[in-house]
Amino acid sequence: MAYFKKKHLSGVHVVHHKETAELESVVMPTPARVVLPLIQHMGSPCDALVKKGDTVKVGQRIADTDKFLSVPIHASVSGTVSGVEDFVASNGTKTKAIVIDADGEQTVDESIKPPVIGSREDFLHAVRASGLTGLGGAGFPTFIKLSPKNPDEVDTLVINSAECEPYITSDYRECMENSGDVLDGIRAVQKYLGIHKVIIAIENNKPKAIELFKKQTNDDSEITVHTLSSKYPQGAEKVIIYETTGRVVPEGKLPADVGVIVMNVSTISFIGKYLKTGMPLITKKITVAGSAIKDPKNIIAAIGTPIKDLVEFCGGYNGECAKILMGGPMMGIAVTDDDQPLIKNNNAILALDKAHTDPPKTTACIRCGRCVRACPFSLMPAAIERAFDMQDVESLQKLKVMNCMECGCCSFSCPAKRDLVGVNRLSKKMVRAAKR
């Protein structure tokens, strides 16, 4: 029935709060010490290659592993390793972290030089060596994304510059400040992966970035700029693929299975920079904002900088800070303390005051259907919640709970303030446990 067919996927309209959009990013001075957790990507943790007392230089590889799903970690400051300590990440993962006391000299490691690339293998090797993970949020190792099992079938590269999360403007700043690097990165991926069609997708609340890229790609018939409507979660991988190409990624499949690779704009920009300088991923452009930040900014900071140093650089806390998020308010992770360091896939630090953090009172489901209409993947969160309450794994599977990307549109739109996405997470766990 055509009447019920969707032209666009659903989503929700969240207040944008992009107040930092026109603030040019500033480089933060080197912090006194950095904390570099051994897992900053999706996959296996690295092993430390340095020990207490070692001197390290900027860009030096200090942790790596042979395991497949991983990327190395590099020193973001020069100085002395003060220890390899136990560390609990904001998502609860227990790992180790290399702590470096900075000497303030920022002496660059001698091995840093632009990579020499002659083939696809060289290129992928270089991308891994750069320590690059997806900078949009999930932290998937980029070299694995760029080595699909069907490279010849991949015909489209989508550059994700939707930045649909409220507050965050770091990708937008990257577009405005380093569009040349973005295009260099795109052309490198095109060259070594043989992709002819590139779509740069930007939400229509960033008209200047759209205009800039349209101008710069005017004479390039292979690169197009796609304007997305400003609706969360346009930047979710499967959503942006559908909106830009009309292709549907089936459950359990990867974008490459429908011939698409999606890369975040900051990720591709880093590739452009790395090929020119050879400096691995040791700094990150992030937005520091929120109601409890005195002077919100876009900053370029060393990876491993503790949150409290970042906040201090942005004027300190404005009143009482009640909640700190790594990432945006829709999918960001609330951290337990402000000693947590900046890691590779953070794109924002948000500090919120009490008025923004009071948990809403949960009431009974009134079956209004708002969660169903909000879900980009047309799942039925309220029905999933009922099935979860009855521990009905079979129904949960039929309701396709495993397709849930945890975007949070259901919880956002629920008038009874139910934690629907939280139940989806638990339901996925229940289904996984039952499969074993």
Partner: protein, 314 residues
Amino acid sequence: MLNKLVVTSSPHVRNRVSTTSIMLDVIVALLPAVVASTLIFGLRALLIICVSVVSCVVFEYLFRKLTKKDNTIGDLSAVVTGILLAFNLPSTISIPIVIVGAFIAIVVTKQLFGGIGQNFANPAIVARVALLVAFAQPMTNWVIPKVVNGGLDLVSGATPLAQIAGGDTANLPSLPDMLLGIRGGSLGETCIVALLIGGIYLVARKIIHPVIPVTYFGTVAVLSLCFGVDPLYELLGGGVVLGAIFMATDYTTSPVTTKGKFIFALGCGFITMVIRVYGAYPEGTSFAILLMNILCPHIDKLCKTKPFGGVKKA
């Protein structure tokens, strides 16, 4: 170091819409009809509405208190039920019957099934149907407002649908009178203009989806033509407008998906017309909605959404 931070799972922002704000919107949408019914049927209409609302809220409060559950009167759903119940009663009804109706709606239909979101049928509809069966005479003791000396006077008479059923088509009210609500009927159902204003407000505020009212009206109109009765009187002369906009769209007792809502409204229109044309009662709206309420879980089961990228397992 800051370590007294609130840690919750995402999302960390919520939409402003709450159950209470939705109910408040419904109450606002009902206000034009409240005013209209008071103008048409006099202050007694307002008295009945007030008694109904107060008894619904009191019954809800007492039930929650006695069963040691959270107090839910703050969500305003009992107020909505109270207004809708009053709208379904004739203006001549005696006050004790209103209170019995409120008891059936709030205690029997809503709270005994678990409170808001758990009732199997619209509380106001169940109450109206129960009262109609139990108190047939007082529930059909209609008065007709007549313009006398520039003011409205009330004389006893029948509803347009009862007139049609009785073959008395010569004395049917004029179309403008029907739109303004100057005709016999339950106190909230007569003023079509006021109800439509409320309906447009609800659609504009995205509280209801237009598919239920539009499909309901369409089905009644088409079936009227099939049965050879006047579609305008069928649409405007009974409770269809009130029922389609405010009762059949109740979230809890109508299907969740658009497809389900369409089937639901189709069924409502069909049963309404079958009862009116073939049944013993001149009006069938409340029976139709009640029967479709009961079918709602089954419609929901048949009309699930199709998950994006979903693959059928072999």
